[in-house]
């Protein structure tokens, strides 16, 4: 009678383990999860990008004209969602239009940097030789020069339009991207599988695009997103110094600049909201970009696949 009571639970335990194993086998082992935080961050980036793109179509008051029927330096409320600044302008509207500058300069600059820096980096690291040495030395020289000083100098000579700022920042990001892409290409260019592909008659273009690029893609994507974040900050600093798009066009940086004068009460009035909202929006965008970069790197890394 004791044997019956002993075998039953054992059978149940076996059935449980069997179920678990079957459930694990059903799941595709190559599938990895990105997690809730990733989607939250992607959501915020997409929201900011969409708002910036379709700002004209949204039912927003003109960001550059004050509504003199409302209260100056009002806090958040129903009439003006996030309040008004000292020129009676709607902060929410200015925040949405200001996102345009950050998104265009951030992504545009990073794309220019990737094209100007990344593509030559792959070719130069794969081919080596004198051109590689020259480009490498050149990138060191450009990097040795403090980028912000150079950008300030060029902007004050050449003028401050959205296009010019994007182009200048993109070109200054290029040597940094060149170095990162070159280093990761180098680490793959001498691997056996590249030689094996060559021995199978693959052309150089094919080796670069099919053998090396997929391997360095995680690096490019995550470094590219971090470059976007860095450029957003750089644009913010320029705008804070009054060297980005000229007012009254809003950008997060020049909103912060205007808000800083209202923070101390130097004008007889204080309005902390004018600093809090653009700073908060920028903070959330930067942290989202960093989280997405990190999660994507882990996601693309197939060598971490569970066996």
């Amino acid at each position: 009678m004791s044997s019956v009571s002993l075998t039953n639970p054992t059978h149940e335990a076996f059935a449980d383990i069997k179920d678990e194993i079957e459930a694990e086998e059903a799941a595709d082992p190559t599938k990895k999860k990105l997690g809730f935080l990733f989607w939250l961050c992607i959501g915020w980036i997409i929201l900011v990008a969409l708002a910036a793109t379709f700002a004209n179509l949204l039912p927003l008051p003109n960001p550059n004209l004050g509504n003199y029927n409302s209260v100056q330096n009002a806090g958040p409320g129903w009439g003006h969602l996030l309040g008004t600044d000292d020129l009676y302008r709607d902060i929410f509207s200015r925040l949405v239009y200001g996102a345009r500058v950050s998104i265009v300069v951030g992504f545009g600059g990073a794309i220019i940097g990737l094209v100007v820096g990344g593509i030559p980096a792959m070719i130069s690291a794969y081919r080596r030789g004198r051109i590689d040495t020259a480009l490498n030395t050149g990138s060191y020289i450009v990097l040795a020069f403090p980028a912000i000083v150079a950008v300030i100098a060029i902007v004050s000579f050449w003028g401050k339009s959205l296009f010019k700022i994007t182009l200048i920042i993109g070109l200054f990001a290029a040597p940094l991207i060149f170095r990162v892409v070159r280093a990761s290409t180098l680490s793959y260019a001498t691997r056996d599988f590249v030689l094996a592909a060559k021995a199978l008659g693959a052309s150089d273009t094919r080796i670069l695009s099919r053998e090396i690029l997929p391997n360095i893609m995680p690096t490019i994507v995550s470094f590219g997103l971090i470059a976007v974040a860095t450029i957003v900050v750089l644009e913010g600093s320029l705008a804070f110094l009054g060297l980005s798009v000229p007012p009254p066009t809003p950008s997060w940086g020049n909103m912060l600049n205007e808000g800083s004068t209202l923070l101390t009460g130097a004008k007889g009035q204080t309005n902390p909201w004018l600093v809090i909202f653009p700073a908060g929006a920028m903070f959330l965008l930067l942290i989202s970009l960093n989280v997405v970069a990190d999660k994507l790197r882990a996601y693309f890394d197939v060598s971490e696949i569970k066996l």
Binding site: T30, F193, A196, K198, A199, L200, G201, N215
Partner: protein
């Protein structure tokens, strides 16, 4: 079918430019290979066997190497030929199985992609034709459930599996000459035997010529028609396989064989290691390169470098004082350390 001359290497020299001067990795190697035959290239690490095989393939970096002599494949000169011309031969005429299966597959491409790629480029197969061919190749190299493996990443396969995939890729475009550069490095002995048997069987099926590069005389003993023994970038002995094991003339060959464990010996038998180190190729010793380590070396060996002379039909060696016939050579090693 057999017997047509496929590959002719004549007086091949390869040297690398280093900061301490030119390094002579291959010093005047000549060899020939007929269709359907297997040539074994044997030597210890640093003897130049991998450099030799890559030079034949034309895979050495052009900028840092000097290559002289000639490598002819069916009469076409390959040495220093432009890459565009070599690309036409690679994979469809000459293919290579690389040393390390762990690093020779692209980690981020699925197995299927890597096999179908050369099929699509060289044989201009459609996507579905290429997939069909790839699956049959995977089957031929003995990979179980090829349909699933087709979608797998290299990290999901074992070392033996990966080497089978490498062989499948090398054979995809039906090459006439297969270069196998230590195809079993890093695999355990059972898998080694399986891979080598597989290579031998595929070679017979396809009437393919093969160059088997290895440091293990046991590997080449039963699987080759002819053996070349290399030391310090030189060919020191060259003979048909059965002749070599019956009457080896070069002390280095004997030393190599003595350092291989044999299954017939009682356990705890000490292996005879070769004393000393391989010579510095930047400063090769005068005389016979093996003389500083050779137990039979005499004064002449340290001064004059022996030429490679053909002593009997097909058997040539570079030694002033070859091992004589009355001194019996050690017995040939067992065909396989482990039954396949």
């Amino acid at each position: 079918m057999s017997g047509r001359r496929l590959l002719e290497v004549d007086d091949l020299h390869v040297s690398f430019a280093t900061s301490r001067g030119p390094l002579q990795a291959v010093q005047g190697v000549s060899l020939t290979l007929d269709q359907g035959k297997t040539l074994g290239i044997v030597g210890e690490s640093g003897s130049g066997k991998t450099v030799l095989s890559r030079a034949i393939m034309g895979l050495l970096p052009r900028a840092s190497t000097t290559q002289t002599g000639s490598v002819r494949y069916e009469g076409t000169e390959l040495l220093n030929a432009p890459n565009d011309e070599l690309r036409k031969l690679w994979s469809t005429h000459i293919a290579m199985v690389f040393q390390d299966p762990m690093t020779s597959l692209n980690p981020v491409q699925r197995i299927g992609n890597q096999i179908t790629e050369p099929l699509k480029i060289h044989l201009k197969l459609s996507k579905s034709e290429a997939k069909e061919t790839a699956l049959s190749l995977l089957m031929q190299v003995g990979i179980p459930s090829p349909v699933e493996r087709y979608e797998a990443y290299p990290a999901q396969l074992s070392g033996g599996m990966r080497q089978r995939v490498m062989i499948a890729i090398a054979l995809a475009c039906a090459p006439r000459l297969l270069m196998a550069d230590e195809p079993t490095t890093g695999l355990d002995v059972t898998v080694q035997a399986q891979i080598l048997d597989l290579l031998g069987q595929l070679q017979r099926d396809r009437d393919m010529a093969m160059i088997l590069v290895t440091h293990d005389l046991g590997v080449v003993a039963t699987r080759t028609d002819e053996i070349i023994v290399m030391y310090a970038g030189n060919v020191v002995e060259r003979a048909p396989t059965n002749v070599l094991f019956k009457s080896m003339a070069m002390p280095y060959t004997e030393a190599l064989l003595k350092s291989t464990p044999r299954i017939g010996e009682p356990s705890h038998t000490r292996l005879t290691a070769i004393e000393g180190r391989p010579p510095d190729l930047l400063n090769p010793p005068s005389g016979c390169p093996f003389s500083p380590r050779c137990p039979y070396a005499q004064d002449k060996c340290h001064v004059d470098k022996p030429p490679l002379v053909e002593a009997s039909a097909g058997h040539s060696y570079a030694c002033w004082f070859p091992l004589t016939a009355n001194e019996p050579a050690p017995p040939a090693p067992e065909p396989d350390p482990v039954p396949a």
